[in-house]
Symmetry: C2
Subunit: 208 residues, 2 copies
């Protein structure tokens, strides 16, 4: 699920067009240098919508986070897992990929900067709480599915999902705030160890 995909919407949808403009401006300028004006420059329609509806960049960015999550909720199905173990591997392949292209690195940096705003802004905190619940529930559903089919051990799906999400959030933050050559955590080590842990916890033992 590429982050940009959520904006591939009807070109007549003004809200989607504004959110796509916000996304482009955020990737290009980062949080600190972003202004409503710079978002307006990316927005091909009338900018009056922008200035009438949003008091400042933070209000628009919180709306952007909500919009992204609405689209994810519509697009990411909960019921069609074919192979729970393969599904978890896909998530690891995506979140803990060895490298990131420039667009994804820019978006990840911007998301970490937005998250840091949540340390003092309740609107951001609510948006990221909802974000974390959605992705954690999705992970727990995959684990629960594996237990129901008898391919995973009888673990606590919510606890496994909590650890996975925490590791993913940590990995995302580390990727854009440290350099492995200067001492930052090598993502390959995290991936290898997490996969070994999941094999131990989910596949070994009484399910075999």
């Amino acid at each position: 699920m590429a982050p940009g995909d959520v904006f591939d919407a009807d070109p007549d949808d003004t809200e989607a067009a504004l959110m796509a403009a916000t996304y482009r401006a955020l990737c290009e300028h980062g949080y600190a240098d972003l202004t409503i004006q710079k978002i307006g420059e990316e927005f091909e329609k009338s900018t009056s919508l922008l200035y009438h509806h949003y008091d400042g960049k933070d209000e628009l960015l919180v709306a952007f986070l909500g919009f992204m999550l609405d689209r994810f909720e519509d697009d990411v199905p909960f019921e069609d897992v074919v192979d729970p173990w393969a599904e978890l591997q896909d998530v690891l392949d995506h979140v803990l990929a060895p490298g990131m292209d420039a667009e994804r690195e820019e978006l990840t940096s911007a998301m970490i900067e937005l998250r840091a705003q949540a340390a003092h802004d309740p609107a951001y905190r609510e948006a990221f709480s909802r974000h974390d619940r959605f992705f954690r529930d999705r992970l727990a559903a995959v684990v629960r599915d594996g237990i129901d089919r008898g391919v995973f051990r009888d673990v606590d799906p919510d606890r496994v999902a909590a650890l996975l999400q925490t590791t993913f959030n940590g990995a995302m933050m580390q990727r854009v705030t440290t350099d492995p050559e200067d001492g930052g955590v090598p993502v390959d080590d995290v991936r290898a160890e997490l996969e070994a842990v999941l094999e131990d916890r989910l596949l070994q033992g009484d399910a075999e």
Copy 2:
């Protein structure tokens, strides 16, 4: 190891006094509202040092991160582990404690805000890379010690430490950027699952 302890230094040490002032101002105001002036207000000595030596708050804050790490490196011994398993439990007790007092919550919020600066500022990135390497090496040394004594399985200490550190960084970020009642990850779930994982990985199997 309480974060404030690193500043319990000789009161005649001007650098330590300046760093303690930076620490207090950072906890009180957070990153966004912090200014060199506000740090000066917390500093009981001449403020000329401040204005002559640091071009802006970011230069001072990067120096602050380096100072904290120097003190940690001096204070946290690598050689006196008595019981590696108990040592890891102590780390979990500290990092994944059910609650945080106000000072620790303020410092954690400020550290996440500083980390987010590393997404676009190489000086912060270097400081946090060094920070992560120090704590990860410390964790790896405890795991290696357990293997050497025959109480832990023959795992890869660097990989285990990489996963631990990533989880800790994720947990720290989540604690100050989400609310569990709105969907944020419950720290108790992370603690319970991580402890179960470490038991599986380190204590079970061929070491028994």
